[in-house]
Symmetry: C2
Subunit: 203 residues, 2 copies
Amino acid sequence: MEYPSKYIEKAVEEFSKLPGIGKKTALRLVLHFLGENEHFSESFANSITSLSNIQECPTCHMVSDLEGCTCGPEKKDRSILCVVDDLRDVLAIQSTNQYHGLFHVLGGVISPIDGITPDKLHIDSLVKRVTAKDSEIKEVLLALPSTMEGETTVFYIARKLKEQAVKISTIARGVPIGSELEYTDEVTLGRSIMERVAYNTAQ
Amino acid sequence: MEYPSKYIEKAVEEFSKLPGIGKKTALRLVLHFLGENEHFSESFANSITSLSNIQECPTCHMVSDLEGCTCGPEKKDRSILCVVDDLRDVLAIQSTNQYHGLFHVLGGVISPIDGITPDKLHIDSLVKRVTAKDSEIKEVLLALPSTMEGETTVFYIARKLKEQAVKISTIARGVPIGSELEYTDEVTLGRSIMERVAYNTAQ
């Protein structure tokens, strides 16, 4: 497509580098800026450049502002540590309001075929964190994807922490709430039967 | 959702101001920047701020770079002028490779309910352009949306240009190429019968 302006062309090119944004969507977004005033574009551009102020916390590997990370000492259950693949999983778990403990972001899962070996992930720092003298961690909850790579990573970390006096758990797998049994895939349904939970008759 | 950084929060907010981008998509896009180097964000932000270099051509109301508009005198069929709603329609028509004439962008269609009266659109400048002494325009092709508002605008412009020695045409309405007749809506199918085209038996 021939663009009427090289500035539009450049902006479309930049937008279409983002995941899930093709040339048509990119053009629609860029033309939206033309309809707005200059302050709109500037405020948008500033918010992007100021992302460079974000740092990675050396302890939990979550991103954080310069002021300090959310893994700091305030109001957290420090006896449980949830291990996740990436930042989005932290946000998803936080939004459930069912978890108030610490997090540890691995930055991926073991996948030798993609060149992601255990040393490329924050596994060593996880072990260090759990074995630290002042550690209050009693349980490590592995909340990793239920893919081949995720399961491999669970197995690897469990082996690494075997000798430590911490309980290791994984998130429950089963039929999602609100789902019909007949539409659930066999593996998930099978797992939900294998890992069935005692029903509390007293409630 | 609670974001781990106020910079992420700000960028998510800015992204979700764009059309068709919700909070979840915005977050996915923002996190993509964190995975790239600083040059990536900078180049992206620059492309947005440099959109302010774009100007509107006072003749055809298309956006153009400072160097000059595509409605300039080079290699164009200056006897036909295509009137469209907005810039995206220009790009869509250009990409068909079936039109090599001039364009005129109205900047909308008449819609009194939304406060868009004829004086808010570039209709006066269209009339001026057609009636100019040095005008070479022989035909005005109205390529406007086939909505109530589009049809009203076609009617209004046709009335305005009635006295002028120019042919007025609209784009053909009918069954899209590759479509099944049974799935075409009745109005379109009816129109395609009313405006049937003589078949060239000599070909």
